[in-house]
Amino acid sequence: MALSERDKVSGHMTTGHEWNGIKELNTPVPRVVYIFLISATIFSVTWTILMPSWPGINDYFRGLLGADQQAEVRQSVAEGVAERSSWTDAIVDEDFTTIRADPSLMQTVRETGKMLFAENCAACHGAEGLGNPGFPNIIQAPTMWGDDPATIMETIRVGINSAHDETRYGQMLAFGRDQMLPLSDVDRVVTYVQTLSDPAIATADNAEDIGEGATIFADNCAACHGETGTGMQETGAPNLTDQYWIYGGDRSSIRHTVYYGRQGLMPTWEGRLTPAYIKLLALYVADLRTAAK
């Protein structure tokens, strides 16, 4: 054990301990550390006196300021609702035509709708609403259930094939898998459906298939998709004659659809979004559709 000695650089004495050449100075704790410690402690103790803090057996000290985090959240939510009621009330009360004619209200619809759409709709329908495989393009394509704002609002409210009691219900039957059509008929009707949107498919070689396909279509498909395949909003069956496809318009996708059927899902937003926000989103989508035309 080394003896205590004076360090030349600092002028302080060492403690006299030494470990493998490491020594320690016996420097007193600098005053600044005590000042710092005392002020930090005063701050913290004061804070615990002001705010809910020290626990007892059955309860805790509520703090002199009577702060309550949960009450603050409730109050701040209520204030937000009150602040937004200046326009949410108008959205709920006015009819669609009046709102769409009100430029300042539509400004709010466009700003807020953009955020609401990105948070709630974009995950399936895409950031621009242009659709993804399995989820329709809701901006450019003809809608399945109707594209006036009131119908769009109803679709958002109840969803499609959703858990809502009043859900819209749409099902494409599994004609192949459930043996409603023999495989050869599935192939023929698929060829016919292809010609609806792409007449160039028809050649002299497949004229017979297409002819039989048309008959099969009239017997099995027209009830929902319409005689001409242009879709029916009463059944939610899509238009087959345009260039928009939910599940793909190539032969193998169409064949998959006819064979296995389809049952898309759109969740119900009632209860998850306020009536004002549902109506606002309907206005927003209708507005985008108008702009896209």
Partner: protein, 548 residues
């Protein structure tokens, strides 16, 4: 390694690896319909490999009794190499997940390569693989030098080092297979936790048994910190991992805690893992290698004492600041914040004690990149603890929580403090351990220093910007009182910062590779003819004697 063991120790080692083989077999059979079985086979292969090595060398000559007159440094040497291997692995996976965040398609549609599975490989790889091995390796060295006693035996240090690495491998491979308790930094499942507990108890016993035989009247401050690290981590690990496996043949278990109690237990663990693993342990490292390298006495023994007890006492109560504005009762949040604020005082006292120790040696900091690594580490330690206490204040936390600011804060600590003090200490330690006159290249240490510093700064600044941007976007309201930005808008805004973060991480990884090369070449360089301190670096107390 085996040649160092006495015949009796070899027998014990046979029993241990044999037992490990049997445990592995039992896990493989019991868990044959579960991923537990895969780990069973891995454990069994490790056990069998150890058994085969023991058999081959079992009849080798008894070790030279003269060895007991020296310190036992072979486990430290192995630990240094393992530290470097884990550094490169852990930081590479870190770079990978950072790149994934900027370019999410890089998962190749493979489950094991998804962000959720790779992220814990990164965190455990750097914290436990890199940091843990560095702590074990340096603690063996510091413990012996500051007690002037040789480690008590030759088998338990190996058991701890290799057993710990087995835990790390089980943990990382489990994450990639999808095995997790979903507790941050405590992801490994019950059987890995039990194994680590055994390893950890032996680790603590090595400390106690060596300290009891010390030939110095006082216990050096570095050992207080290393012991706090070992003891508290044991306590945290055991309590947070209390869980019931669904069966002994299944890897899955359920925590004993649920709801907000579970969250509080987890963050009591999580925060104190930062405190006692990433702070206390590395402060122990700093308290030995920094004054040793600087050739200066510790600035103040008294300051060491109050900061040690300050850190040890205050940290314990601060965990609830991870749960501000959650279901956690407000009074617990207030107390967490209050303790976190006071915690800054002992943290800065430690940093100040280290920096003041450098008084009289600042010219060495300028000229010697090894000491500069340690000095910079202390500065980052000071900055990070200031930031930590600041972020624990509820009003600040309401902006910073759930944002990349937290990630920036953690990496200021992990890269700036933990990794820098490790690399500085390893550079100081390696020549002595392998009895080489000096490092292979001082220039490469300089290169590493600047890579590490620039990588850390790029990383931390990118995350500060990203975090504050996120936090502000999430709370921006339009004039109509609705949120202005959707969540996806904030993701788009972060993209450039995520690329910058990956570049910072790449620089840091390159630094670690340079360090590994430099240390590898040092080991391969010719041995010193006569070491400067030959004849001095010897224990006063040899290993545990029969009847002791």
């Amino acid at each position: 390694m085996i040649a160092d063991l006495t015949r009796a120790e070899r027998t014990w080692a046979m029993i241990i690896v044999g037992g490990l083989t049997v445990i592995g077999l039992a896990m493989a059979v019991g868990g044959r319909n579960d991923l537990l079985g895969v780990h069973g086979w891995m454990v069994m292969i490790v056990g069998l490999a150890g058994f085969a090595m023991m058999i081959r060398q079992f009849d080798a000559p008894e070790p030279d009794p003269e060895r007991l007159q020296h310190y036992y440094d072979a486990p430290t040497r192995a630990g240094i190499i393992l530290t470097l291997i884990w550094a490169v692995i852990g930081m590479f996976v870190g770079l990978w997940v950072a790149t994934l965040l900027a370019f999410p398609d890089l998962t190749f549609d493979a489950a094991w390569a998804s962000f959720g599975r790779l992220r814990p490989v990164h965190t455990s790889g750097v914290i436990f693989g890199f940091g843990g091995n560095a702590l074990i390796a340096t603690s063996y060295h510091v413990l012996q030098r500051t007690t002037r006693a040789r480690l008590p035996d030759q088998i338990s240090p190996w058991f701890v080092l290799l057993g710990y690495n087995l835990f790390c491998v089980i943990a990382a491979s489990g994450y990639m297979m999808g095995l997790t308790q979903s507790k941050e930094y405590a992801e490994p499942e019950w059987y890995a936790d039990i194994w680590l507990t055994i390893v950890w108890v032996v680790y603590f016993s090595i400390y106690i048994r060596t300290l009891m035989r010390r030939k110095e009247p006082h216990i050096y401050v570095a050992n207080w910190y290393y012991m706090a690290f070992i003891l508290v981590v044991a306590m945290l690990h055991i309590i947070n991992n209390l869980a019931v496996p669904i069966s002994l043949g299944s890897a899955k278990s359920y925590s004993l805690f649920s709801g907000v109690q579970d969250a509080m237990t987890q963050w009591w663990y999580g925060h104190n893992a930062v405190a006692f693993f990433l702070t206390s342990g590395f402060l122990g490292m700093m308290y030995y290698y920094l004054p040793k390298r600087a050739g200066r006495p510790i600035f103040s023994y008294r300051l060491s004492i109050i900061s040690f007890w300050g850190i040890t006492f205050m940290y314990m109560w601060a965990g609830s600041h991870h749960l501000h504005y959650t279901a956690l009762p407000q009074w617990v949040q207030t107390l967490g914040m209050a303790f976190s604020v006071v915690l800054l005082v002992p943290s800065w006292a430690s940093a100040g004690n280290a920096l003041m120790t450098l008084n009289g040696a600042w010219h060495k900091v300028r000229d010697d990149a090894v000491l500069r690594f340690m000095a910079l580490a202390v500065i980052f330690y000071g900055l990070t603890t200031l930031e930590g206490s600041f972020m624990a204040i509820q009003a600040v936390n309401s902006l910073s929580h759930y944002t990349d600011w937290t990630i920036g804060h953690v990496h200021a600590g992990a890269l700036g403090w933990v990794a820098m003090i490790v690399f500085g200490s390893l550079y100081a330690l390696v020549p002595t351990m392998w009895k080489r006159p000096k490092l292979y290249s001082a220039k490469l240490v300089e290169v590493h220093f600047w890579l590490a510093l620039s990588g850390t700064l790029i990383y931390v600044f990118a995350m500060w910007n990203s975090g504050v941007t996120q936090g502000l976007m999430w709370r921006t309201y339009s004039e109509s009182g609705a949120l202005t930005y959707s969540f996806i808008d904030s993701l788009v805004a972060m993209h450039p910062y995520y690329i910058a973060r990956a570049i910072g991480g790449l620089l840091f990884l390159l630094g670690a590779i340079v360090a590994s090369y430099n240390i590898g070449m040092t080991i391969r360089s010719p041995i010193a003819e006569t070491s400067d301190d030959a004849g001095q670096d010897l224990p006063a107390q040899p290993a545990l004697q029969a009847g002791e």
